[in-house]
């Protein structure tokens, strides 16, 4: 990796190469003029030993880099841009330097400015390197070239060689092989999350070809099974805290998010090479993999309506949205907590605040939403577009013919201008009798324009600031202002301003009293939530008490979105029959247009969308969106080298470059992070125990050479994850027994060195799936919208748990509609992540609430009954046969005599359903052993 030079200095002693620009004016000399100022006022706190706020003023490089804030204190040739100067001038809020006593003299500050403008010459320190950050941290180094110690350990499998070597250093050794039945069950649960059937186990252990051959065939079968992707996709969804609601206080549903889940399952099943897996998720728009872009927007995000209308809130919300993306990418692919550098340089890892914002610049074009979901369905829809276009056009021309035939004016616009002969008036009134969809009358703005005169342009005299006063029949008291004053605030910005909305549907009016009489010739209204369909505009002439109608709608052609019934419509000179015909053709046109719009837009998927011309990305001081510093280019973190892109580099290529970087220059880290995730899911713990943090605060690998060996193999094997599985599960390390060994426990209680296969409890999903499998009820339907655990699919009112499920709810749990924050009944308490923060590894709690759910929930009782019925069906009425069968289904082996005795007593007294309930509550069933 890009660790070209190695200094003994700490990693943060780096610099940015400067181009020295000669500035006019008297030459300032560092030694004579500048150093004494720094020495007297600054270096006490910002010297070699003190470094307050991570800043020292005795090194040019340190100044170039700036302090913890990540803002360059010194920009050679540009005093204005140098943070140092801005601080000294007192321009930074709440920051005074020097902190005590008077500020520097103006002369001193001017001298520093001149020195900087002249290039900040600093004798002996002008060699500071450009953009080069050093680190000797293990995960940032190239992969070590390593040869498996097969000879010294006598282990033929390379993985076993590394493991055995480490064990022997501690006086330990691998355990004997596991019982074949245990191993067949273990590998099935590991690779597919479902226990094998008794028949499958029998077949493998009694294969005439011998167990070793049969075992390898079994692995092939498991990896070829679609069940494999369903298990391993879940792990990836945990890593990126994917869910199907937005989180926070609304937690509304993302109804089209599920295609991403299906895409991940498919990717694992297809053994999509990991570099392509990354590429699709960062730049799937370039290869028609739209669903894959669900990755970037997997996290929680507040809806626009939940964001404050003030500028700071809007900027903050945008920063938070992008922060989720950076955290996802940083942790999932880099295995680094890049997100920690949002407010200051990373405290532990060589990641600058500037790097954080450079990563942000890569995704500056991203927004959360839905995008066109290309593929078969999309093509089918597209094929229907020409016919739909023609149908809509035919209907529209029919409408136009009718309009001309009935001599109607064109339909109303959303922003309607009504012009008429000038009237000198003192008030304006709009009487709305009906809206196009029957909802409450609503307008954003009502403008009343004077007739212009030479030298006096038309004025909107309705405005509050022009003295207009509004009134209305009513206004809604919703959570936000719907007051009629909104009509005359001069603001139609949908993000900032609000409409007037009447309190209820039905007739309504608004009136504007003018400050003084004016000659009016034009009224403009801007629709609100509804469009007024039937109204009269009236003026109150200056010399009269009688309102004068200046515009009406009874000679207007109907809008296509006018949903009024025929008998509610009146048009001048049209008979009831003619109106009925018109309304009918309008409805047909509306439907045809809607269908055309739907087909033209194509099927949609919840995924990242991109703006081709993203706004510039700024380095923010202390992460404060109101404190913008310099514009930063899209880049990978400095420590990895440079992509060398400009600040206005084309949007899509920023993401493409990142994907290519991860698969090429950055591949050592990329591969290490992923092989560790895969390893972790086999053994319960990773070689690195902090799977999304390979930084200094993360754990060091227990077997660094093995990690590098696997990473190298992974890359050489064209990033095939299935090959990696095969390598792992064929090892003796995976195949050994899981029993405790006293001597080994005393040295390595948690089996981090793998002197045994570490037994562990299954995850929530595997538990539920296994129960359904045991009961013979698992529904293996793949893909599509998920089933629900609750009475609703999003939102944050009270969720009611579903008590019973039918076949649709007996699908594998990865197909459950995933609601953020909400704990799923019975199984959620088995450490199911809540979709809030990323969960690269799960905790494995043991709690009484788990016991209550497994014992008493209707789901469990019902499945226990199904299980019992199924056993009876399989084996007939003999109780011992049934017990034998039940234990073989649950544990993959026959019962011991003790177990048989215990269960037979229970069955005789209380029935087989209680035997099955018992088995489903035991550790052996709930564990990988």
């Amino acid at each position: 990796m890009a660790c070209l030079l190695r200094f003994s200095a700490p990693w943060f002693a780096v610099g940015i190469a400067s181009v020295v620009v000669a500035a006019p004016g008297r030459e300032v000399d560092y030694q004579r003029h500048i150093r004494p100022i720094f020495a007297e006022h600054c270096v006490v706190c910002h010297g070699e030993d003190t470094r307050e706020s991570g800043l020292r003023l005795d090194q040019r490089g340190a100044l170039l880099r700036g302090g913890d804030s990540g803002v360059a204190a010194l920009v050679p040739g540009d005093a204005e841009a140098s943070y140092l100067v801005r601080v000294l001038r007192g321009e930074i809020d709440q920051l005074q330097m020097p902190p005590d006593g008077p500020p520097l003299s103006e002369e001193a500050i001017a001298r520093i400015e001149r020195w900087i403008d002249q290039g900040a010459d600093w004798p002996g320190q002008m060699d500071d390197t450009a953009d080069r950050l050093e680190s000797d941290h293990w995960s940032l180094q190239d992969l070590a070239e390593t040869t498996p110690p097969t000879e010294t350990t006598g282990q033929s499998h390379p993985l076993d060689a590394y493991i055995a070597q480490k064990l022997s250093e501690q006086g330990l050794a691998l355990s004997p092989p596991a019982d074949p039945r245990v191993l067949v069950r273990r590998v099935a649960l590991t690779l597919t999350g479902l226990p094998p059937t008794p028949e499958q186990i029998d077949q493998v252990v009694s294969d005439p070809a011998g167990f070793d051959v049969a075992y390898e065939r079994w692995i092939d079968e498991l990896l070829a099974s679609p069940r494999y992707g369903e298990r391993w996709a879940q792990h990836w969804l945990d890593v990126i805290r994917w869910a199907e609601t937005v989180g926070f206080e609304t937690n509304l549903e993302r109804p089209r998010a599920w295609p991403y889940r299906d895409w991940v399952i498919q990717a694992f099943n297809d053994d999509l090479p990991y570099d392509e897996f990354i590429y699709a998720q960062l730049a799937g728009d370039t290869i028609e993999e739209d669903a894959a872009l669900g990755f970037l927007v997997a996290g929680p995000a507040n809806l626009p309506g939940q964001i404050g209308r003030d500028e700071e809130s809007m900027r903050q919300a945008r920063q938070d949205e992008l922060d989720e993306v950076i955290r996802t990418v940083g942790q999932a692919f880099f295995g680094l907590t890049i997100g920690c550098a949002r407010c200051h340089n990373h405290k532990f890892d060589p990641i600058l605040a500037r790097d954080y914002y450079s990563m942000q610049a890569i995704f500056a074009g991203l927004t959360y939403g839905e995008r066109r979901f290309r593929g078969e369905e999309n093509d089918a829809w597209a094929a229907k577009v020409p016919a739909a276009t023609e149908r809509a056009a035919t209907l529209r021309s029919k409408l136009e013919t009718l309009r001309q035939q009935h001599q109607l004016r064109p339909p109303l616009e959303d922003l309607q201008v009504e012009t008429f002969a000038p009237v000198t008036a003192r008030a304006v009134r709009m009487e709305i009798r009906a809206t196009s969809d029957g909802s409450a009358a609503s307008l954003y703005e009502l403008e009343v324009w004077t007739a212009g005169q030479p030298g006096e342009p038309p004025r909107n005299v309705a405005l509050a600031e022009a003295g207009g006063r509004s009134d209305a029949s009513s206004f809604a008291l919703q959570n936000q202002t719907r007051h009629h004053e909104n009509l005359i605030d001069g603001d139609r910005d949908r993000r900032q301003a609000f409409p007037w909305i009447a309190a209820a549907g039905g007739p309504a009016w608004v009136q504007i009293d003018l400050a003084e009489p004016a000659t009016i010739e034009r009224i403009v209204w801007d629709r609100g939530n509804a469009v007024p369909a039937d109204y009269g505009l009236r003026l109150l002439p200056v010399d009269s008490e009688t309102w004068q109608t200046v515009a009406a709608t009874d000679d207007r052609m109907l809008r296509e979105d006018d949903r009024r019934a025929a008998d509610a419509v009146q048009l001048r000179g049209l008979s009831k029959v003619e109106i009925a015909e018109l309304v009918s053709v309008v409805a047909q046109t509306r439907d045809a247009a809607a269908e055309l719009a739907r087909l033209s837009a194509g099927p949609q998927v919840y995924a990242a969308r991109f703006n081709e011309t993203p706004a510039p990305t700024y380095l923010l001081r202390r992460g404060d969106p109101m404190q913008r510093d310099s514009v930063v280019p899209p880049e990978v973190p400095t420590v990895f080298g440079r992509l060398g892109l400009s600040v206005d580099h084309p949007e899509v290529d920023r993401r493409v470059q990142l994907a290519q970087f991860l698969a090429n220059q950055g591949k050592a880290l990329t591969a290490r992070v992923m092989v560790n995730r895969i390893w972790q899911k086999h053994f319960g713990r990773g070689l690195v125990d902090t799977p999304s943090d390979f930084g200094k605060k993360g754990a060091a690998p227990t077997h660094p050479e093995l990690l590098d060996y696997l990473a190298a193999e992974f890359i050489e094997g064209d990033w095939s994850i299935k090959q990696l599985h095969r390598k792992i599960v064929t090892s003796k390390t995976f195949r050994q027994a899981s029993f405790p060994v006293e001597k080994a426990l005393a040295v390595d209680a948690e089996s981090r060195l793998l002197w045994r296969f570490p037994p562990r409890r299954l995850e929530a999903e595997a538990i539920r799936d296994s129960i359904l499998q045991a009961a013979g009820k698992v529904n293996l339907k793949m893909g599509g919208p998920g089933f629900s655990f609750f009475n609703q699919r999003g939102g944050l009112s009270d969720y009611v748990d579903r008590e019973t499920f039918d076949e649709a709810g007996w699908r594998r749990m990865i197909y459950a509609h995933k609601i953020r924050m909400q704990t799923v009944d019975v199984f959620g308490v088995f450490d199911c992540p809540d979709g809030g923060q990323m969960q690269p590894k799960r905790t494995r709690s043991i709690t009484p609430v788990q016991a209550l759910g497994l014992l008493n929930s209707p789901f469990m009782l019902r499945q226990a009954q199904f299980f019992a019925a199924r056993v009876a069906e399989d084996r007939g009425s003999e109780l011992l046969d049934q017990i034998d069968r039940a234990v073989r289904v649950a544990y993959g082996r026959s019962p011991t005599p003790d177990e048989q005795a215990t269960l037979a007593a229970l069955a005789q007294e209380h029935g087989m359903a209680h035997v099955c309930r018992t088995l489903l509550n035991t550790s052996e069933f709930l564990s990988i052993r």
């Binding site: 989180g247 206080e249 006293e742 709690s845 209550l852 269960l903 509550n921 035991t922 550790s923 052996e924």
Partner: protein
């Protein structure tokens, strides 16, 4: 061998392994443990979880002032200017623009003119604290309360701000204060959950289960949500299962697990599972007892307002009685919610448009039951060891929103209070400006508030940490100072 050192650091429980092994062998089910706790437990800084029992009482960092905590949380953002933050200038300037903020745009948009408190303020208690007629019964207890008027929040949106008040972060997914305390201290009563979240009878608070989530701490430390209107799920043996059959099945589970244990001697996870079934059985016995409010006297019911004809008030009062009963039985951390989810202010304190009429409804529900709860805790001597925290996610603006009869979100200055163990009662800390708009004196953050609460529990907020994704996480992020002025 650097990697091996790191590994040892990651396994704080390993030194006791041999002891456990032997105990497990000989001691049968007496020594029950949770290895997984150890596996995911943080390094040196984290509390040492006894593998024999994750809920065992643990020593705080220093002598605590409070043994237990009750958090009363008003969801929706309770208006400070209409309750506890008295501003005579706001009364005087009623109907006028706020000087310097004439064009203020806040969460929902433009604001109108200043509006005086909608309820009259009067001096209460010996200390003469001015509080409003909206919550008169709570006001009467002013001598027992310690107000903080200068709290601020980082977000002006309910969800993130509620997250902040209860987890120390605006984001989803962080452990709640109760989970941290549970993790740090365990519990005295092994028959009840150590951390209980009591939801409002009207529904879930704005940030929902985030408020009692374990986040990345082990699930054992999450709050158990139940209330007098919403029992613990699956606590009761279903009617379809005869008692004898249930007992027999449980015995069979224990027998099979013990047989497993013979193959896996000393396995702490197996033992912990057995223990979890025992604790479940004890909960089945003891939770109905604690929920049985019929054991309360009529006098007590009247004190709380549980006899009210207003059904919501009566239900909330019952929740308050439940809170006391839980605390009496040693539950470490009780969260009591007043106010439900987003509902245009109808079900919680989010008074944007009809503040007066909505608050009249909410005030009646909140006031007497909470005051009754405080009085009851006091008369039973429980305030000596119980810290009571009264909180909300932010305050409200001193003006009405343009074109409504309510106040918009205000994260710049709001009021919470503490009472009970170790609290400097009858005092107030910090202040907002003359309009109640922004905190200007002794400005405090939720981190400071949390640090103070942890301090009263004998915990140093900088030492209570847990490693997650690259950081030793704290309830207080990297901030927070104990507010000494609020301590007795």
């Amino acid at each position: 061998m650097k990697h091996f050192d790191a590994m040892q650091n990651a396994s704080p429980g390993r030194r006791s392994t041999r002891r456990e092994w032997l105990a497990g062998f000989g001691g049968g089910l007496a020594s029950l443990g949770v290895a997984a706790m150890l596996a995911d437990q943080a390094r040196a800084a984290a509390p040492a979880i006894d593998p024999a029992n994750p809920y065992a009482p643990r020593q705080p960092h220093f002598a605590p002032r409070a043994e237990q905590v009750l958090v009363i949380f008003c969801s929706g953002a309770l208006s400070q200017v209409d309750t506890f933050d008295y501003k005579p200038e706001l009364v005087r300037r009623d109907g006028q623009p706020m000087p310097g903020q004439e064009k203020l745009v806040s969460f929902q948009g433009p604001n109108g003119n200043l509006v005086r408190p909608l309820w009259k303020f009067r001096p209460r208690g010996q200390c003469g604290k001015m509080t409003s007629d909206l919550l008169p019964e709570i006001g009467k207890l002013a001598d027992d309360l310690c107000f903080v008027h200068s709290l601020t929040n980082e977000s002006n949106t309910h969800g993130p701000a509620e997250n902040m008040m209860n987890t120390g972060f605006t984001f989803d997914g962080f452990p709640s204060m109760g989970a941290w305390v549970n993790f740090a201290l365990g519990t005295e009563n092994q028959n009840l959950p150590s951390f209980v979240a009591i939801e409002d009878p009207r529904g879930m608070p704005q940030s929902g289960p985030n408020n009692w989530a374990n986040g990345f701490l082990p699930a054992a430390f999450q709050g158990t949500p139940f209330s007098t209107t919403k029992p613990i799920r699956h606590l009761v043996r279903p009617e379809s299962v005869p008692e004898a059959a249930d007992r027999a099945a449980r015995r069979a589970i224990a027998t099979l697990e013990s047989q497993s244990l013979r193959q896996y001697p000393g396995d702490t996870r197996l033992q912990a599972r057995l223990s979890s079934y025992e604790l479940a059985a004890r909960m089945q016995l003891h939770v109905p007892e604690v929920m049985d409010l019929a054991r309360e006297t009529e006098q007590t019911r009247q004190l709380y307002g549980a006899d009210s004809a207003n059904p919501t008030k009566a239900q909330f009062a019952n929740n308050c009685i439940l809170a006391r009963r839980l605390l009496e039985r040693g539950v470490r951390f009780v969260q009591l919610f007043n106010g439900a989810y987003a509902s245009g202010g109808a079900l919680n304190w989010d008074g944007h448009s009809k503040l007066e009429s909505q608050y009249e409804v909410h005030g009646e529900i909140l006031d007497q039951p909470v005051a009754g709860l405080l009085r009851d805790l006091k008369q039973r001597g429980m305030l000596d060891s119980t810290l009571v925290v009264f909180a909300t996610e932010f305050g409200r603006m001193p003006m009405f929103q343009a074109g409504t009869y309510g106040r918009d979100h205000n994260p710049f200055g709001f009021t919470c209070w503490l009472a009970g163990a170790g609290v400097r009662a009858g005092t107030s800390y910090g202040a907002t400006d003359p309009f109640g708009f922004k905190a200007v004196e002794n400005v405090a953050t939720p981190h400071d508030f949390h640090a103070t609460i942890l301090h009263l529990m004998g915990l140093d907020h900088e030492r209570l940490t847990y490693y997650h994704n690259g950081i030793e996480r704290r309830l207080t992020n990297v901030h927070g100072h104990v507010i000494r002025e609020m301590l007795a």
